[in-house]
Subunit: 167 residues, 2 copies
DNA sequence: GCCGGAATGTTATGTTATAACAGCATCATG
DNA sequence: CATGATGCTGTTATAACATAACATTCCGGC
């Protein structure tokens, strides 16, 4: 289970998916929540990459499965997965990304690479602290945070400086 | 010109608007950019409150003026105003808010009150620092940041704890 | 088997945003 | 003044994202 800074470039993503899915199933069972076939399938679809996917991308993937669900079906599944913390929403992209550490309570802060498209969850106590302190100073009671830093990830910076231009 | 933490509850907003608009005009002139009547009017509309407004709200306001522009007209004006830093986008709300300190270079970080609806720009060096450090540690080259903290502002916390329920 | 609640299906519509091209204003230049 | 370049705005159409409202089905408990 990779909780590290940026999703390790060459990692065994099959195992990464499998483990995360198992973790989600265990959590749902513990909580008495029902990870139904549809919800599980939607989670699989979102887990397939570390890139945010749109709700209509999920819809398309389900359609290729043979089912032809309408948008509400997908949004409901995503709502459930979000409520369970299995999936997060990327506000700046109107898209959804899987959480690869759903068991660990955390705030949802992201690095978004504009080149490779990957979204990495940040787990940084100093940042959490700074955000909390900012709110405190303003007398503001924070309830939810959207923190999304867009730019170039380390891998893509290297590629770019090496003059490589992949499609 | 109020650059302070949360837009001071009882402030002279007419003056606040007027000064900010003048500042924007001066900046545009300095930069050789054209703050046309349409763009200026859109800025006025967004300046009318410290609350984020949707593009279609702006469209509605323009319609009430008598013109009946189509969406692209509004989005183009908003794009211009954003490029000039006169307006910021609130990603978590698909809405736009005026910048009341357009002359000052700054990152766009917001406090969003769910009760009064106001958006306050945060100018906090420690937070900027923490975000920069987070990116640096990941080897990430940050280009744009979305930082939006939603919750209850100080005024609204007081009102709530006083049991007051304003419309 | 029957009931009740949860999940999903279905239809329709609402909301946000952009592509593509047409027309017009403004301004420098000859 | 004509001319053309540029940039702003208008217009039409459509794409992309999201939800309301109601029907149906599934599934466990009785
Ligand atoms: Zn992986
Ligand atoms: Zn990258
Ligand atoms: Zn004001
Ligand atoms: Zn408030």
């Amino acid at each position: 289970m990779s909780t590290s800074a940026f999703p390790l470039s060459p990692h065994n993503h099959q195992a990464c998916m499998r483990e995360t899915l198992a973790e989600a199933e265990a959590l749902a069972a513990t909580r008495g929540e029902r990870l139904t076939p549809l919800r599980r399938r939607v989670l699989e679809i979102v887990l397939e990459s570390h890139r945010p996917v749109g709700a209509y991308d999920v819809l398309g993937a389900l359609a290729r499965d043979g089912a032809r669900p309408a948008p509400p079906t997908v949004y409901r599944a995503l709502d459930f997965l979000r409520a369970q913390g299995f999936v997060h929403r990327i506000d700046s992209r109107n898209a959804f990304v899987a959480c690869f550490a759903p068991a660990k309570a955390h705030r949802c802060h992201f690095l978004l690479c504009r080149r490779c498209g990957r979204a990495a969850e940040i787990l940084d106590a100093a940042l959490d602290q700074a955000l909390a302190e900012t709110a405190r100073q303003a007398g503001f009671a924070a309830e939810r945070e959207t923190v999304e830093i867009a730019g170039l990830c380390a891998d893509c910076r290297e590629d770019a400086s090496a003059g490589v231009g992949a499609a």
